[in-house]
Symmetry: C2
Subunit: 773 residues, 2 copies
C-alpha cells in the first residue's frame, strides 16, 4: 500500500503534524466538513496568501454556465451546471502589531491539524513567529452543525506567547468569491442587500442566473481571560465584504477567543425577501444557546450516526482510518432529509463534476444509505428521480424519442442534462438502467412493493419505453441490436452491442413488465390511472418489449466462453495489465485518447458490473471465467471500479485479490492514489468501499425477503464488524478468524442466512457460526 | 433548382437590385473579394448600424485561441487556430448636414450592388434620402489588386442630388476590431505604433499571441468636379482609429470623389520594424500611379486568369453564373505564389473553420489549381505539406506513434494540429491518405518523378509508417484491422475497419514502396541520404508494409456485393433517403447527433470517394452497384459530397443523376442551399464543382502520361467548354450535343484519348469527334 507521508495513521482522526504548504490544497480537500446542506473545504479562517482553492458549497445551488464545446452538436444541453463557491462565512483576519497573521509568510514554530471523524470537527493549533519577533499561538475549532444545517460555528483563539501584542481582529463575511473553473474569470453572485452591525454582519446575494437567493450572516463574541469583551468594533462595509474590526491589547499568555456563529439560509427554503431577517434571528438564537451547547448537541448526533454506520476493523489502523473517512464524508454529503438533493461525485469538497448527480448515486451510494440511514432516506433518492421524470422524457424527446420514453441525464442538477460530450451525454445511456435497478433494489431490500404503484412504475415504464426505441432490429443478425453506446467502461466510446447495456436494457423491460403485473394486481385503479396518464398501449407495448427481451443480441466469445464487452473487442491486440510498463500508467495521463480507445484496456469492467447486478443468473464458473478475463485487462482508472471487482473476487473466494482491490478504494483519497485529491474527494466511490466490506467480505445478499451473509476475512485483519438496518431490524455482524457473530441489536426476531444455512436471531440476541476454513 | 429570389441571373456578374437588409450578412459573404494575400467581406465603407459580420482576413495570420472543450482529453492540441478579423482598411464615414449616411437608418431610394466577376471588382450605387430631406447618391468601386497583393483600392463618390449639402467625409483605418467567435469578446490585436498625416494614416498592430505584426495604411485624394481638392483635413487620432475628417460644401449635382488607397503589409514578408515605412512608400507609389492605372492593370491580369480557368456553359445562365462564381472565389483565395499559404474551407469570407487547411486542399482543390494555374502552383501545395513534415511527425508522437510516423493534422495553420474533437483530430486520419494521393496525382499529371527524390518520398514514408503502426493484427480475424476511425463520412465516428481508410492506408504503403523503388533507381545517392535521415530499416519496414498490404481486412457485403463502409453497417436499420420525410432534413439541423450516428444515412460516401480515387481497380458493374447502394443512402450534407457522386454518375453514364448532383454544388452559395452563406462561402467545395464538369461531364482522366476525355453533355445545356494545362500544353475542350472539339491552344502536338481512341492534336490545331449517343 502506498502510504502518504504527511498524514498520520489513526483510528478516529485525520492528522497533519507540521505544516505542509505544498499539500495545502490536498489538505483543504481532506479536512473538508459538511452537513448535507452545505460543505466547506478546510480553508483557513485567517488570511492565507499561499496556494488555496476556496470552497464553500451549498446543496442545490448551482450555476448554469455556458457550455464549452469546440463544435456544437444537435441535442447538446444549453448549459453546464456548476456547483458554485458561495460567499465565505469563515473569515477572521488577524493582525499582530500591524502584521498579518499568514501561514504563507510567518515563521511556523508548530502546526497541528485534526479532522476528528467521530465528531465531524476540524481543529487547528499552531504557533508562529511574526516578523516583529512576537510569537503567537492560534487554536481554531470549526464545525457545520449536523442538527441545524444552516449553522456553521468557529472558535478561534489567539494567544501572544512571549510579549504583549496589539491585536486587530476582523471577523467578516465575503461575497467577492469566484470559481477557479469559471470561464474567463466570470463571477456568479451579485449582492442584493447587506447590513453591518456591532458584532454582526449579513449579506444577501443572488446568483446571476436562475435567481437563487441566499443570505450569509455572522455574529461573534470575543472573550479575554474568560470574560466577554464589549470593545467597540469598527464596522467594515466594503462592497462585498462586511465585518467588524476589533482592536485590543493582549498581554503575553492571555488567550483572546472569538466565537463566530455563521448562518447560511437560502431561497430553496424561505422567501427570498425574508432571508436577512431569518439569518439574524437564527444567529441570535444560536448565540443565546452558546457555542459549547451547540457543539455538544452536534457531537451527540454524530455519535448516533456512527452507531448506525460505523465499520470497525481490528488489527489494521490504516484500513480502519480509511473506511471511517469514507463513511464520514458520505454522511457529510447527504443526509437524506430533502428529496431535492443528491450526491455529487465530489460532494462539497471541490468544483469538479459540478456537484451534480451521476449514476453513481444509484449504482454505488444507494445501498449504503439504505442500509445505514434507512428506508426513508433511500426512498428520497428514488423520489428525486421520480420528480425528474418529466425532464427525462423531455430529454429523450430532444434526442428524437417519442411516446413517453425517458432518458435520465448523465449529469444533472434539476433533471435537465448538463453534460456536453456526445459520447457520454447521448451514448452512456446505461445510466437509465441503474435508475431502474435502484427501484428494484429498494423493493427487494424493504419489501415495499407499494412504491411501484406510488411512483416507481411510472419511472420504470418511461425507461423501458426508451430502451424499446433505442434498439433496432438487425436484418443481418436477425436480432435486436443496440448501436452507438458507451458503457460504464468509458475507455470505449460509440461501441455496438455493449453487453452490459444490452443486458440491463433487456432487464429493465423485464422488470417493468413484472412491475406492471404487480401494480395491476395490487392496485388496479392506480394502474388504470397510470395507463391513462402515460397513454400506455399495454398489449402492443408489452408485446414489443417481450420480443426484444427474447431476441436481444449478446456478444459472446465462444473460445474463451466469456461475455464480450462489445462487438469487435477481440479484434484488439490482447495485452494484459500485468504486462503493461508501469511507466505508462495511469493510461489516462500517459496515453492519448485514441490510443486508449483502441487498446483492450478497461477503465472499469462493464461485464463485471453486469454480473454484479445480476449475479443469480450466472454459475460460479461463469463468474470466475469472466472475472479472470476482465480483471486482467482492467486498469481501474475509475474510482468506481475496484469495489465491484473486489466484491466479485470475494464471491469466487479469492480473498487476497479482494483485499488487494479493496485497498485501492479504501484509502484512495487519504493516500491520493490518483494524484488529484487537491481537486476534491471521491465521494461516490466511498460508498463502493463500504460495499466491498459489506457485500464483498461480508457477503451480504438479499433475496426473497431474506438477508444472508457469506463472510470472509482478509488475513491482514483480526476482525471487522458492520451494522445494517434490514426490515426494521438492526443487525451487527462481527467477523473474526474464529467466528461470525451476528447480533440483533434492534427489532424483532429475524431469520437470516449464513453460509447458506438459515438461523433465527432473536430480538436482542445473537448467533455465532464458525467461519469458512 | 431552388432559386434565390434576391440575386439576378447573369453570366458575368452577381447582382443585387434593391437593398435586402435581412440578407445583409449573406451579401457580405457573396460579394467578397480577395487576392490570395488578403480578402474582404462586402462590408460597407460608410457606417452601417444594421446586422453585419465585419471581416478582413490576411493570409497566414492567425490567432491560437484557447480551445473550448468540456473535458480535456490527452493529445488535444493546446489551441484552436482562428483566422482573425484584421484592422479595417475600408472605412469612409459620411455625414450629410450632420447626419450619418447609414443604410440601416436612411430612406433608400435605389440600391444596386454588383460583383463583376470578370474584373473582380465590387460596385455599389445607391440613392438615399437623409432625415433632413436631402437626397444623396453614392457610388463605390472596390478591388484588391491581383498584381500588387498588398493594395486595396476604393473609389467612393457622394453626390447631393436635390440640394447643396455640407459633407463631412472621414476616411479612416480602424484597429478596434474583433471576431464574433472569440471567447467572451476577447480581442486579438494590440497597437504598436500609429501615425496620422494630412490625407494619410498608418497603424501598426501585432497579434497578442505569436507576434504577427502588420501595418495597415491609407492615403486618399478628394476630387470635386474633376479637380483634386486640397481642403485642410482634421487629423483624427483616436486610440485605435486613425483618419482625416474633411469638411466641404457640395452643390447639388456635384460629385465628390474619394480615392482611397490602402496597404496591408505584414511581418511574414518584411521586418516588423519597417512595416510603417514600407506601407507609406507603397501608398505613395500607388498614388503616383493613380487609381485607374492600377485598376486597369488588375483587370488585365484577371482577363489572363479567366483565359486559363474559365468554364463556359451555353444555354444555362444560372449554371454559367454558378461555375464562374466558384472559379472566381477559388482564385480569390489562393494564387499559389507562396508555399506558406493554403486554402481554407471558407477562404477569406468568414470566421468559420478558422481559415485553416483541411484535407479539402488535396482531395478537391489540388486538381483545379494544377490544371488551371499550372505545375508550379500545384507543387507549392505539395511543398506546404513537405514543410510541415516534422510537425506531422511530432503530432503522431504526441499520440504515441514512433519511428518517424507522420500524422498530418486535420486542421492546421503552421503544421500543428488545432482541432479539438477527438473523433476528428485523432480519428479522421484518412486525411493522411489524401496528402499522399496528391503527390501521386501530381506526378501522374506532370510526369515529374524527380519530385519524389526532392521532397515527396520523405512525406510518403512518414505516412506509410503511420499506417503500419495504426493497424493491428486481429487474432480473431487473422487479418490486419484498423480500429477507431472516422471516415470522410463524418456521420459515423469511431468505427472499425472503415473501408475507405483501410483502402487508402494500404494504397499509401503500396505507393511508398513504389516511390522507394523509383528513387532508389533514379537517384541512389539521394535515396541513401533519405534512408539515413529517416533511419529507414528497408528490409524490415518494407516486409511489414507488404504483410499489411497482403492481409488487410476489407469489409464486404456478400449478398449485395458492395464494399461495406465499415463493420456493422448492415446492422443499422436500412432506410433510403428517398423515404426520408423532407421535414427531417437537413438531418444535421433536425436530428440529434446520436440519432445521426445510429442511422444508416451518410454525409458523403466514403466508399464512393475510394472508388473515385482508385477507379481503375473496379469494373463498371462494381462501380454501379456501389454507387446505387451508397447514393441512395447519402444525404450530401457535406458541401464536398455531391461532386464525387456526380463524377461517378457520369462515369456510369447516368447523366441526369450527374446533372442533378452537379446542381447541388454549383450554386450552393449563391442559392444558399445550406442556409449558412452568411457565415462565409464554401471555397473548397467550389473546386468540386469544377471537377464535376471536367472529370464528370468532360470525363477527363490521366493515365500513363496521357490525358483522355469521355465527354457527356447534360440535355439542359447547349455547350460547355473548359481549358486545362497538361504537360506544357493548353487544351480547350468544347462539348456540344453534336461534337467534341478539342483545341491545342498552346504547346506542342499532343496525343490525347477521346472515348477510348487516340488522336493527335497539333500545335494550334484541333480535332472534332462525334459525341456518344
Amino acid at each position: 500500500m502506498i502510504m502518504s507521508s504527511y498524514l498520520k495513521h489513526d483510528e478516529w482522526n485525520i492528522i497533519e503534524e507540521g505544516f505542509h504548504p505544498e499539500k495545502s490544497r490536498d489538505s483543504e480537500s481532506l479536512f473538508s466538513i459538511g452537513n448535507g446542506h452545505m460543505g466547506q473545504r478546510a480553508n483557513f479562517e485567517e488570511k492565507y496568501s499561499g496556494s488555496t482553492l476556496q470552497g464553500h458549497y451549498i446543496a442545490g445551488i448551482y450555476y448554469p454556465d455556458k457550455t464549452r464545446v469546440g463544435w456544437w452538436k444537435n441535442g447538446y444541453p444549453e448549459y453546464f451546471a456548476k456547483v458554485i463557491n458561495a460567499p465565505s462565512w469563515i473569515g477572521i483576519d488577524i493582525k499582530v502589531d500591524g502584521d498579518y497573521l499568514d501561514l504563507a509568510t510567518c515563521k511556523i514554530l508548530d502546526f497541528h491539524r485534526t479532522l476528528n471523524m467521530k465528531q465531524s470537527v476540524i481543529e487547528r493549533e499552531f504557533t508562529v513567529e511574526m516578523p516583529s519577533g512576537i510569537q503567537v499561538k492560534v487554536k481554531s475549532t470549526r464545525f457545520l452543525s449536523i442538527i441545524d444545517h444552516e449553522l456553521g460555528l468557529i472558535r478561534y483563539s489567539v494567544t501572544p506567547v512571549n510579549k504583549n501584542a496589539n491585536l486587530e481582529i476582523l471577523p467578516y463575511i465575503d461575497a467577492d468569491v469566484e470559481n477557479e473553473d469559471s470561464n474567463y474569470g466570470e463571477k456568479f453572485w451579485e449582492k442584493t442587500d447587506g447590513s453591518c452591525y456591532h458584532h454582526e454582519a449579513y449579506i444577501a446575494t443572488k446568483t446571476k442566473k436562475l435567481d437563487f437567493h441566499i443570505c450569509t450572516g455572522m455574529l461573534f463574541d470575543i472573550f479575554a481571560g474568560g470574560n466577554k469583551l464589549s470593545t467597540k468594533a469598527h464596522l467594515v462595509e466594503e462592497d462585498l465584504l462586511l465585518g467588524n474590526r476589533v482592536l485590543l491589547n493582549a498581554t503575553a499568555g492571555e488567550e483572546i477567543v472569538v466565537y463566530k456563529y455563521a448562518a447560511v439560509v437560502t431561497s430553496l427554503d424561505y422567501p427570498a425577501a425574508e432571508l436577512m431577517q431569518i439569518a439574524r434571528k437564527k444567529l441570535q438564537e444560536a448565540n443565546d444557546r452558546g457555542f459549547h451547547a451547540i457543539l455538544n448537541a452536534h457531537i451527540g448526533e454524530w455519535e448516533r450516526k456512527w452507531e448506525h454506520s460505523d465499520i470497525v476493523i481490528e488489527g489494521d489502523v490504516a484500513a480502519q482510518q480509511g473506511i471511517r473517512f469514507n463513511i464520514l464524508q458520505l454522511n457529510h454529503t447527504y443526509t437524506g432529509k430533502d428529496a431535492r438533493l443528491n450526491i455529487g461525485p465530489k460532494g462539497f469538497t471541490g468544483e469538479k463534476y459540478g456537484g451534480s448527480t451521476y449514476w453513481d448515486t444509484e449504482a454505488y451510494c444507494f445501498p449504503f444509505f439504505m442500509a445505514t440511514a434507512g428506508e426513508e432516506v433511500a426512498k428520497n433518492l428514488l423520489v428525486y428521480r421520480y420528480n425528474h421524470l418529466q425532464k427525462a422524457i423531455e430529454n429523450a424527446e430532444k434526442l428524437g424519442f417519442t411516446n413517453g420514453a425517458a432518458l435520465y441525464p448523465m449529469v444533472t442538477m434539476n433533471g435537465e442534462e448538463c453534460h456536453n460530450e456526445w459520447e457520454i451525454t447521448f451514448e452512456e445511456i446505461h445510466r437509465n438502467g441503474a435508475i431502474a435497478y435502484a427501484i428494484y433494489s429498494y423493493i427487494r431490500y424493504t419489501g415495499n412493493e407499494s412504491y411501484l404503484a406510488e411512483k416507481g412504475l411510472e419511472v420504470l415504464m418511461g425507461i423501458a419505453r426508451f430502451w424499446a426505441q433505442r434498439v433496432n432490429y438487425s436484418e443481418a443478425k436477425k436480432k435486436y441490436v443496440m448501436l452507438g453506446v458507451t458503457g460504464p467502461n468509458e475507455y470505449e466510446n460509440n461501441s455496438n452491442n455493449n453487453w452490459y447495456s444490452n443486458t440491463i436494457a433487456s432487464w429493465c423491460m423485464e422488470y417493468a413488465t413484472k412491475a406492471i403485473e404487480i401494480v395491476k394486481k395490487q392496485n388496479p385503479s392506480r394502474y388504470k390511472e397510470i395507463v391513462a396518464k402515460t397513454s400506455f398501449d399495454e398489449s402492443k407495448e408489452l408485446a414489443k418489449w417481450n420480443d426484444i427481451i427474447a431476441n436481444m443480441y449478446y456478444p459472446y466469445e465462444e473460445n474463451l466462453k466469456v461475455f464480450l464487452q462489445q462487438e469487435g473487442y477481440m479484434d484488439k491486440e490482447q495485452i494484459l495489465v500485468k504486462d503493461l510498463d508501469p511507466a505508462q500508467r495511469p493510461l489516462n495521463q500517459k496515453w492519448s485518447w485514441d490510443r486508449i480507445l483502441r487498446s483492450c484496456f478497461i477503465k472499469q469492467a462493464d461485464v463485471l458490473q453486469g454480473i454484479y447486478f445480476f449475479e443469480d443468473r450466472f454459475d460460479l464458473d461463469t463468474i470466475r471465467r469472466n472475472f479472470e478475463f476482465y480483471e486482467s485487462r482492467t486498469v481501474h482508472e475509475s474510482s468506481l471500479s475496484p469495489c465491484v471487482h473486489s466484491i466479485l473476487a470475494a464471491k469466487i473466494g479469492d480473498i487476497d485479490k479482494a483485499y488487494e482491490l479493496y485497498l485501492r478504494t479504501a484509502r484512495l483519497d487519504i493516500d491520493d492514489y490518483n494524484k488529484e485529491v487537491r481537486e476534491g474527494l471521491h465521494i461516490t466511490s466511498m460508498a463502493g468501499t463500504w460495499l466491498s466490506i459489506v457485500e464483498g467480505f461480508g457477503g451480504m445478499r438479499v433475496k426473497d425477503g431474506k438477508v444472508s451473509f457469506t463472510p470472509h476475512i482478509p488475513k491482514q485483519w483480526n476482525a471487522y464488524s458492520f451494522r445494517i438496518l434490514f426490515m426494521g431490524v438492526a443487525l451487527r455482524v462481527r467477523v473474526t478468524h474464529k467466528e461470525v457473530l451476528i447480533y440483533n441489536e434492534e427489532g424483532e426476531s429475524i431469520v437470516i442466512g449464513v453460509y447458506g444455512k438459515e438461523y433465527t436471531v432473536n430480538k436482542g440476541g445473537s448467533i455465532s457460526v464458525a467461519p469458512l476454513a
